[in-house]
Amino acid sequence: MTHLSMEDLTLLRESLPAAGAAAAREHLAACPACQAELERLHQRVARLRALPTVAPARDRWPEVRRRVVAERRRRQYRWLGVGGFAAAASITLALLVNNMSHPQPVSASTEDISRAMDRSHSLEQALDTYDPDSRVTDGVTAQAAGELEDRIAVIDNQLESAQMLDAAARNNALLRLWRERVGLMDALVDVHITHASNVGL
């Protein structure tokens, strides 16, 4: 007497009838050994489903979030057709040119603003060269970097909004925002580079 194969038994569990299922069921009905084998298969699968659930040892959300934010920023830049720096800088430059052609009683000098923009640009280039997205990052670093990137995105939005201000207030706001951006970019570079030296990269 030829018993059912394991493939026959596994297929008998399917709701859709497979080819030869009728003959297999006929054999099963008459064969206590195959009935026992099918029962063991059912029990094994039930035990598999009852295996304890395993949970991750580390929180991976900060790293997921950091990548999502970084990708969102890249998408925004692509949509603008320029880099983050260039987008914010072009607005500022236009405003500065306008200030020079229509001198206003301003307190923040255009040179100071240009210097802050150059510094921000250098830091952004340094970060691009380091390419943090392609590197392994621990949760703490990812969280810190994510928070800094969020704050930089807020500053970029504020730089865009600054064009609505009158000339005097605008230059002061631009200088403050660009300096703040430099500080945040500096911190972001620090977070990545410090992480890299801590793990020996």
Binding site: L9, L48, A55, W61, E63, V64, R65, V68
Partner: protein, 181 residues
């Protein structure tokens, strides 16, 4: 976990997640991180690989949540992404051939009574070749059909069916369930 699932399925959370709200995306992550990791850990060779699959899965979920149209459960959608990522990880790691000599892998046996040596089910599952283990888990535990598994693996339906049967033959032997017929 059911409460978290309900919360994750709520229209408000989904709408906010689609709009890119970070808190809503984190709610989805918290609702599904354990089942996704569990699936990945059962398929992948190491905990590190499973954590990477968890991360890749949710990066994809966050990017593509706008494409989820509510057809089928949210968990079903997330689970398909997680399974694909886990199988991609196996392919990337150049998984062991399914016919590799199983005796090369040593897993401690457990004493049962005075005469039988049995392997514990978890160890036996771990001992299966990667592809067989993936098929067993995806079919018997996660509930994917052979057609779905074949599609995700880029193999035939027959391949999936035969891998499942061969895996059960091995599990039966290692678990000491064989009987003379």
């Amino acid at each position: 976990m059911a409460e978290a699932f309900l919360l994750a399925n709520s229209d408000v959370v989904l709408a906010r997640a689609r709009a890119g709200d970070s808190d809503a995306l984190e709610t989805l992550f918290r609702a599904f991180e354990v089942p996704v990791y569990n699936l990945a850990r059962r398929i992948c060779r190491t905990a590190e690989d499973a954590e990477d699959v968890l991360q890749e899965t949710f990066f994809e979920v966050c990017r593509s949540i706008g494409q989820y149209r509510g057809e089928g459960s949210l968990w079903g959608w997330v689970r398909t992404i997680a399974s694909s990522k886990a199988l991609m990880r196996l392919r990337r790691n150049k998984y062991r051939d399914t016919d590799e000599l199983e005796e090369e892998i040593h897993v401690p046996l457990r004493q049962e009574g005075s005469t039988h040596l049995r392997m514990d089910l978890e160890a036996a599952l771990e001992r299966l070749p990667e592809v067989s283990r993936a098929v067993v888990w995806l079919h018997d535990v996660e509930g994917f059909t052979h057609e779905e598994i074949a599609d995700m693996m880029g193999k035939t339906v027959s391949f999936s069916k035969s891998q499942l049967a061969r895996a059960h033959v091995r599990l039966r032997r290692w678990l000491g369930e064989e009987i003379a017929v």
